[in-house]
């Protein structure tokens, strides 16, 4: 995309006022030079160009200072009168023209684009390109900035870009108002920028997301693409490009609900590990088994139904338009907002209800009616729009499925550390006891905030202190990575939850005495403070030495010489 030079565009548009200005000034100046005046001795005097330019300059802008250097004659005054009007008019014309141009929507857009391009060009750190700044997009961008990951937003709706600009993010997030399905917009937003590490396609249209995935695959094949797709067709289509990952909101949504039903421990672990910074810690929930009622058999309802049948639950469906949604035969027809429909579905002996229509008001109405008929129900609501947060929270439901936030959480976990996604996959295969044990271990070290997870790579760049030790054939055990650099008898508030060897062997909850090897990647979970401490000890050889041996070595040359002399005399340094 070719950058526009604002100054040149502006000057080209200002052709006529500028020429008018030059002409009027020239005529006025020439007039003053040609018209004869009279000096203080009564002799004929001609103003020279210097004085004429001086006089016209201040006359045009201020109309002041009087007649210089001698009082004017009638002819000169007449010419002054003409000049005053001419210059004032030409100035007004020029300034008015300039203001009109500055306010033109096209020019304003050009200004915005130019400053956006400049900002993108200046980015040095790796960034994600987020297409679509709706509920999910805004939540994701917020979580990313909280974790110091840069992102750039492309959004077709100017109102949302305005919201982005008004929001107070920790890191500045440039936003471009453009259609992401046009490859040029993606290029402008830095698709080919060497720091672009990934593109997240979150627009509400599958077609646009597909187009984004295609553009990325062709224009920057190395870049990671995560796209949202609502239908299976689009999902298959996007995955066919190889590098792309697809998230289906309804499936993700239903998958989470099913997980909470059959293994609450794993569900809680998921919620904790994928939570975004500064969120409240989720409480464990225990959905009952028995007869469930599912209101709404749309795309969400179908996905939930499939999972519930898999869990061997007895499900009764309530659907307003069974023909349109191809609901199975034994469906109860109705919206579910009226007591009679719910009673027909057998609300009295049900244990739980899922309000899964695409209308937030209806969902709340269903649950409130159901709550009156059967107060012991386990109530699950689907919340479609983030703007309804307040009323959903006030309704005191057992489980709220916020679409935007579930996808944002999942994306965030995928983007922050690749290991976390693998960990969650592995955790899903473990049983409930394993999950509960891990939860109790984690809750032992965290306070009221959800655990923070991070990754340590045993490589020359990221953990030089450890790497050098390993290269010197010294053995370092895993436990050394999370001892407190201020007092090695204490552990830092974090635990290693996954260790991946260079040959892709995964160790879940590795033992603390596991010897480290170069190329290991370890996923830690714990308090945010612990991450800074671990960073310190993997970078600083002196800190690491203290951790490993308990001795503090002098780091400066002079001090080292002094201690060596001390050693030679026979005194032994006392270990701390």
């Amino acid at each position: 995309m070719r950058g526009h030079n604002i100054i040149f565009v502006l000057l080209r548009r200002l052709h006529s006022p500028l020429i008018a200005l030059v002409c009027v000034y020239a005529i006025c100046i020439l007039g003053f030079v040609l018209i004869p005046g009279v000096d203080d001795k009564g002799q004929v005097w001609h103003m020279d160009f210097f004085h004429a330019f001086y006089f016209v300059s201040f006359m045009g802008t201020t109309i002041g200072f009087g007649e210089i250097p001698y009082a004017f004659t009638g002819g000169q005054r007449m010419w002054s009168t003409f000049s005053i009007y001419a210059t004032v008019v030409v100035w007004l014309y020029g300034i008015g023209f300039l203001l009109t141009i500055l306010q033109e929507p096209g020019f304003v857009q050009l200004l915005g684009q130019t400053s956006f391009l400049r900002k993108v060009k200046r980015i040095r750190e790796p960034f994600y390109l987020v297409c679509g700044y709706g509920d999910t997009g805004s939540k994701l961008v917020k979580a990313l900035t909280e974790s110091d990951i840069t992102s750039i937003v492309v959004e077709v709706d100017q109102d949302r870009i305005n919201i982005l600009e008004l929001e107070d993010h920790r890191i500045f997030v440039p936003g471009l108002c453009a259609d992401a399905s046009i490859p040029d917009s993606l290029l402008m937003a830095g698709l080919k920028h060497r720091s672009c590490i990934g593109v997240v396609a979150l627009t509400n249209s599958d077609e646009v997301n597909l187009k984004i995935a295609i553009s990325c695959a062709l224009l920057n094949p190395g870049v990671r693409v995560i796209a949202r797709a609502e239908t299976q067709d689009a999902e298959k289509n996007i995955t066919s490009f190889g590098t792309s990952q697809v998230i289906n909101p309804y499936e993700t949504f239903a998958g989470r609900l099913a997980m909470s039903l059959h293994s609450p421990g794993t569900f809680l672990l998921h919620e904790w590990m994928t939570s975004v910074p500064h969120e409240e810690l989720t409480e464990p929930i225990f959905p009952p088994h028995g007869k469930w009622i599912l209101c709404g058999y749309g795309r969400f309802g179908k996905a939930v139904h499939k999972r519930m049948i898999k869990e061997n639950l007895d499900v009764t469906i309530i659907e307003a338009k069974p023909e349109k949604t191809k609901a199975p035969g034994d469906v109860i027809v109705g919206r579910g907002t009226e007591a009679i429909t719910l009673q027909n579905a057998g609300i009295e002996n049900a244990v739980g209800i899922v309000a899964g229509t695409d209308d937030d008001a209806n969902n709340l109405s269903i649950l409130m009616t159901a709550g009156e008929l059967n107060p012991d129900l386990f109530m699950v609501a689907r919340q479609n729009s983030r703007s309804n947060d307040a009323i959903f929270s006030a309704a005191e439901l057992d489980l709220i499925m916020r679409r935007g936030s579930i996808i944002a959480h999942k994306l965030f976990a995928l983007m922050r550390t690749p290991l976390l996604a693998s960990f969650l996959d592995l955790a899903r295969e473990q049983d409930e006891t394993w999950a509960n044990q891990l939860i109790s271990r984690i809750s032992g070290i965290i306070e009221d905030k959800p655990p923070h997870s991070w990754e340590i790579n045993i490589s020359k760049e990221e953990a030089p202190a450890i790497y050098d030790r390993l290269q010197a054939q010294e053995s370092v055990i895993l436990r050394s990575l999370y001892l407190d650099p201020q007092d090695r008898s204490l552990n830092l508030p974090c635990i290693p939850i996954l260790l991946r060897r260079r040959n892709n062997d995964n160790l879940l909850q590795p033992d603390e005495n596991t010897p480290l090897e170069p190329g290991d990647r370890i996923l830690f979970s714990g308090r945010r403070r612990a991450q800074d401490m671990t960073q310190w000890l993997i970078h600083n050889p002196h800190v690491l030495n203290y951790i490993l041996t308990g001795e503090e070595h002098p780091s400066g040359y002079l001090w080292r010489l002094l201690t060596m002399a001390k050693h030679n005399k026979g005194t032994v340094e006392q270990p701390r």
Binding site: V9, L11, R12, L18, V22, A26, D48, F49, F50, H51
Partner: protein, 127 residues
């Protein structure tokens, strides 16, 4: 025939001719160099510069650059003239006149370049 091109070429050539008119004559002799001609040269040169704004081709950029050079030289010449006439106690000297005229000579070269470029472009379009 394109009116815009006519006006464009008119001002570029006029800038050169007026500039030449001022430049020609004994370099130190104020009588040979008319102050009105310098004034006209500046005004025409400024208009030519504005007309060249916004052309984003390579040749357009070079045309704009030559015009800016001419403006700069002529305005400096005018400032020197004003200075020696009104600020300096000695008034006009052959030395100052030579400086003014040689500056306008520099502007003349820039204007010649402009015209050469204009002719080149025209020839290329015709071909």
């Amino acid at each position: 025939m394109n009116l815009e091109k006519v006006i464009f070429a008119f001002f570029i050539v006029l800038a050169l001719t007026v500039n030449f008119g001022f430049f020609i004559g004994d370099i130190t002799n104020p009588i040979h160099h008319n102050v009105y001609e310098l004034f006209a040269a500046i005004v025409v040169s400024l208009i030519a510069t504005i007309l060249k704004f916004g052309d984003r081709t390579h040749i357009g950029a070079v045309l704009l650059a030559t015009s800016l050079v001419a403006d700069l030289q002529l305005i400096v010449a005018a400032i020197i003239w004003g200075f020696v006439e009104h600020v300096s106690p000695n008034g006009m000297t052959p030395h100052a006149m030579a400086a003014i005229v040689s500056l306008s000579g520099g502007a003349l070269l820039a204007n010649i370049t402009s015209v050469v470029l204009l002719v080149t472009e025209t020839v290329m379009v015709r071909r």
